[in-house]
Amino acid sequence: MKTNDVILQTVTTVTVFIILTFAAYLFFAGHHDPGGGFIGGLMIASALILLYLAFDIELIHKGLPFDYKLLMGVGMALSLLTGIGAIVLQHPFLSHTFEYVDFPFFGEIELATSVLFELGVTLAVVGATLTIILSISEDV
């Protein structure tokens, strides 16, 4: 029987953007408030999974031609490299620093190296979650 998922698909196209925006908010909020790279990554993954649920896998693969295993690798490598950077600069592994920089137009913004670490975590979480879920769903 062919299911009619017009409602799911229509809602998904709207909600995915809301979820992704919230994910971005969580990611940046994590620096001073509850939130962070891990939970942001899970949010992004849930948005993508919603897409996979509402549409078929081939269609999404056309739009998002990533190998999620590689994404996981990139994320882990990025996180590790920020740690190794601290070693190169003679600080304990995983040390982080931050600096307040004055940008024209935007004003003063805090730039922190831990954002790079968190970005790596996010990519790794998205990659790992989708690898697991897609490998379960593949041959059903």
Partner: protein, 113 residues
Amino acid sequence: MEILMSVLVGILFTAGTYLVLAKSLLRIVLGTAILGHGALLLLLTMAGLKTGAPPLLGMEGITNYVDPLPQALILTAIVINFGTMGFFLVLAYRSYKELGTDDMEELRGTNNE
């Protein structure tokens, strides 16, 4: 609250143990999941259920902070549990397809075929 949670932990462990001892593979997988939840809830309860502000700098006028360590531990443990569960589920599914049974009784045996 702690006592209520302890009872709940007991119930979760009972249910988990019962399911792990079942014959069907899927029940065993679910049993380990419930055992995992029980253990995490126990970790949270044993560290003390307090009400207070999140332990972040720069929050004025708050004296009562929550101990952040158990939460960090549990978050890590949840991630690990999630990974293990995902693997176990895939393994159970693969074994069911390859071995043609999900009955642990039939998976007995020591001989190498």
